[in-house]
């Protein structure tokens, strides 16, 4: 079983929120109703802050953070190298985006688009790090889908919170529907994924660990069931003021994803030597 990896949890979840927000901005901006400029500026700033926090958190995972720059050395085969590169490129794109947000005129789409695409590639590389032959629970599409869904869900919810005043109703509705979609997909994915796990001894160990862990059930409650119910209720009653509810869903889902990520690391069981020592 793995460890409680705070730096990795923070790095991946915060990074994914940041990229999720930009992705949502891009998506909304391409729609018929353009994005409010104030919201755009504010959101770009916040996503950048989160990205920086995420990158800083990742340093704490290293034994020797002072030499972190070396991590770019193995693009040929190391997904970790690729991840770092893509996150740095995302950050550069974000600087461009930030510069763009300071400009009065000009299209934001290009900046948003580049940042989003690089960011998504970064998220995919992050996930690919964990696609290890040794860990059956990870050696599949699970990590990639799971990381992308986090990006989508938390990106959408955070954008909703940021734009609680400045988003148009249709935009809000889109984001809410998207969040609901992500939650349902995440739940379904997990069910399929769990059924796959039992195929190998190590996978079964992971599953067993999960089902017996109160953390997992908290995660299920916070990250799946509560958001599911709340999102449905919000979408069903469009007339009620939903700001507080949206805030609640975001917090719950955020906690759920953090727990989920913690469990992701905790529950990983590698194939190993099982002889007595």
């Amino acid at each position: 079983m793995g460890d409680w990896e705070w730096p990795l949890i923070l790095f991946t979840v915060l990074g994914q929120i940041a990229i999720g927000i930009i992705l949502m901005l891009w998506w909304l901006d391409r729609g018929r109703d353009h994005l409010d400029t104030q919201l755009f500026k504010q959101s770009v700033l916040i996503s950048g802050g989160l990205l920086i926090l995420a990158l800083l958190a990742s340093l704490f995972h290293l034994g020797h953070p002072e030499a972190a720059y070396r991590a770019l050395a193995h693009l040929g085969s190391s997904w970790l190298s690729r991840e770092i590169l893509l996150f740095l490129l995302t950050f550069l794109a974000w600087i461009y985006l930030f510069w763009q947000s300071k400009q009065q005129t000009g299209s934001r789409t290009l900046g948003l688009g580049i940042t989003s695409v690089l960011g998504l590639l970064g998220v995919v590389s992050s996930a690919m790090i964990y696609v290890l032959l040794r860990v059956p629970a990870w050696n599949n599409a699970g990590p990639v889908l799971c990381f992308l869904l986090t990006t989508g869900l938390l990106g959408a919810l955070c954008t909703l919170v940021l734009g609680r005043k400045l988003l148009q109703t249709t935009q809000k509705k889109l984001l809410l529907q998207f969040s609901l979609g992500c939650t349902i997909a995440s739940l379904l994915l997990y069910i399929i994924y769990s059924s796959m796990l039992s195929a190998s001894t190590e996978g079964a160990a992971t599953l067993n660990f999960l089902l017996n862990s109160p953390l997992f059930w908290s995660r299920a409650l916070l990250g799946w069931f509560a958001p599911l119910l709340l999102l449905i209720s919000i979408l069903k009653n469009p007339q009620v003021d939903k700001t507080n509810l949206i805030l609640t869903v975001t917090l719950l889902a955020g906690l759920g994803e953090i727990l989920g990520r913690a469990l992701f690391y905790l529950s990983a069981t590698g194939i190993q030597i099982t002889a007595l020592f």
Binding site: G63, P65, R70, I84, Q272, I273
Partner: protein
């Protein structure tokens, strides 16, 4: 790569004396925690008779080393003779290799915050000497060999033993001769 060096472990001869384990520690004065080489006892239930059976394992200098693949700083290199060397000067302690190795042989040294592992005593090999573990093996159970088809075609040479990860994962450069069991007159 011209050849692939590796270990041939003879569980028929190995008595689990752990001399190799300590000879390795002595050679490099390794700190208390990291275990570059370790002697494992096979489960007695895996064989027809309960017997004390062992194999000794260090880095397997795999043909497809996962550590090397995942390492972001290129701390790992594979030499022409197949030895996978870890360079602590490059290591930044990201521990990804420790997650990727099915044999748990790269290990973090908590004091140095870097990973360490067996480098097959490449300096000794370059000097024409045996690796410290092989040189120390009293019953002659551990050998340095070239892993090739000739070896694999010999009768009794096994690619794995019970309790070990499938060699398909990383194609480890270790071969085994399985434990032999004599006749037992038991009281249970």
């Amino acid at each position: 790569m011209n050849k692939q060096l590796g270990f041939l472990h003879n569980s028929e001869k190995c008595v689990g004396c752990r001399g190799c384990e300590m000879a390795c520690k002595n050679e490099y004065q390794i700190d208390a925690t990291p275990e570059w080489r370790k002697v494992f006892q096979l489960h007695e239930d895996d064989y027809s008779l309960p017997t004390r059976m062992f194999f000794s394992m260090a880095c397997n200098h795999c043909a497809h080393p996962e550590c090397l693949r995942v390492c972001p700083v290129m701390a790992y290199t594979k030499r022409d003779d197949g030895i996978v060397i870890h360079d602590p000067n490059r290591c930044i302690g990201c521990r990804l290799c420790t997650m990727a190795c099915p044999y748990d042989r790269p290990q973090i040294n908590p004091a140095k915050k870097k990973v360490e592992k067996c480098n097959l005593c490449y300096q000794r090999i370059d000097n024409g000497e045996q690796p410290a573990c092989v040189a120390a093996c009293i019953p002659g159970a551990l050998e340095l060999v070239e892993i090739n088809d000739t070896l694999d075609q010999k009768t009794g040479v096994l690619k794995t033993l019970p309790g070990l990860p499938s060699p398909k994962l990383t194609t480890p450069s270790i071969r085994f001769i399985g434990p032999k069991q004599g006749k037992q007159i038991r009281r249970d």
